[in-house]
């Protein structure tokens, strides 16, 4: 044995290495920021999901005709789909670029690099494909239109959540973080539920009944938006509170 090991039996040496690995892994974790950021971006999208409903009498509501279907905007009754698609295209790109800048700052501060480039690239490429793909495909002979069952994934305007989930899976791999993988699993579940199911139905037994003609009819899609946002914000807040800080064991 060399002098550096003189006082350390193999058990202690292995234990020492395990501690160093844990410390390094913990120091590189900075995922609270993208969780909170994408949660806030989701909350900021809420106005685009509020349907443009005109009350035409008791129990009767008139919805504006939906705009052209877009992958990121869905087929929003109320005509906000195109605005929603633009919002998500810009918000996703901004979110991924801000996260990349965040990790650059974090690695300068702690001295450990997390390869966030794959996360950023995945997110931006998927966002660009989701936004531009349908526009380009419209000129192709087979055109672009709702294709079941894929249609169910975007018709509610929630496809951006799945793009955010894909990015988080890449980030969980880059950070070697089981906790982030679990959070992403929960978020992916919420995003899929929001894409495939009317979450308002879950609130019906609790007394919320946003039926046609009621004042809350404009808000029927919001539970689909706020559920994934809630998962991100709660997880992000928890990760922020539990983040490793200098001087804390």
């Amino acid at each position: 044995m060399t002098s550096g090991n003189a006082a350390l039996p193999p058990e202690e040496l292995l234990s020492d290495l395990a501690r160093l690995r844990r410390q390094a892994r913990s120091a590189r974790h900075a995922y609270w920021f993208p969780l909170v950021l994408f949660g806030l971006l989701t909350c900021a999208s809420v106005p685009f999901y509020v349907s443009d409903v005109t009350q035409a009498g008791v129990g009767v509501a008139i919805l504006r005709a939906p705009g052209p279907p877009t992958l990121l905007g869905g087929e929003q009754a109320g005509g906000n789909g195109l605005f929603l698609a633009w919002y998500w295209a810009l918000a996703l790109v901004a979110g991924y670029l801000l996260t990349w800048a965040w990790y650059r700052r974090h690695q300068r501060r702690v001295g450990i690099k997390t390869p966030a480039r794959a996360f950023t690239t995945t997110g931006i490429v998927l966002a660009a494909l989701a936004f531009l793909g349908p526009l380009l495909a419209a000129d192709l002979p087979f055109g672009y239109g709702p294709v079941p069952p894929v249609e169910d994934l975007w018709v509610r305007g929630t496809f951006a959540f799945l793009i955010a989930a894909a990015g988080l899976w890449v980030l969980a791999w880059a950070e070697r973080s089981r906790a982030l993988a679990l959070i992403t699993l929960a978020y992916t579940g919420a995003a899929l539920l929001a894409s495939l199911y009317n979450v308002e139905n879950l609130l019906y037994p609790l007394g919320w009944n946003p039926g046609f003609g009621s004042a809350s009819a404009r808000l029927t899609v919001l539970p689909n938006v706020l559920l994934p946002a809630l998962v991100l914000l709660v997880a992000g807040a928890g990760a922020f509170l539990l983040r490793p800080r200098p001087g804390r064991a």
Binding site: R21, R25, R28
Partner: protein, 113 residues
């Protein structure tokens, strides 16, 4: 791969005894620590110095040994006006670390058995 890397003693058959699987270049607490940390992520000089509790000079010497053995790569650059030195492990370094940890684990197993 540096010339010193090729001069490193070849590992004996670890089945004979785990200590035969230990590599003199790697089998040193702080060098193992450097390899362990950089196997997790690229790390800068300051992080390694603080995590391992070494002086800058001591860390430099260990880095030189590992770099000459082809187990790590040292990248020097600037961030703004501030010089930064980043250390990354090579594939040879990952293999050496894995072999070392295996040999140590086998030693522990035999000791307990």
């Amino acid at each position: 791969m540096s010339t010193q890397d090729t001069d490193r003693q070849p590992r004996a058959d670890p089945a004979a005894h785990p200590t035969n699987g230990l590599d003199d270049t790697v089998h040193q607490r702080h060098r193992l620590g450097i390899l362990t940390i950089t196997a997790e992520a690229r790390a800068d000089f300051g992080y390694l110095r603080d995590a391992l509790g070494l002086t800058a000079g001591n860390l430099s010497r260990h880095l030189t040994v590992l770099e000459e053995a082809g187990l790590i790569q040292v990248e020097k650059g600037y961030e703004g006006r501030r010089p930064r030195t980043w250390v990354r492990i090579t594939s040879a370094g990952r293999a050496a670390l894995a072999a070392e940890v295996d040999a140590l684990a086998e030693l522990v197993r035999r000791h307990r058995g």
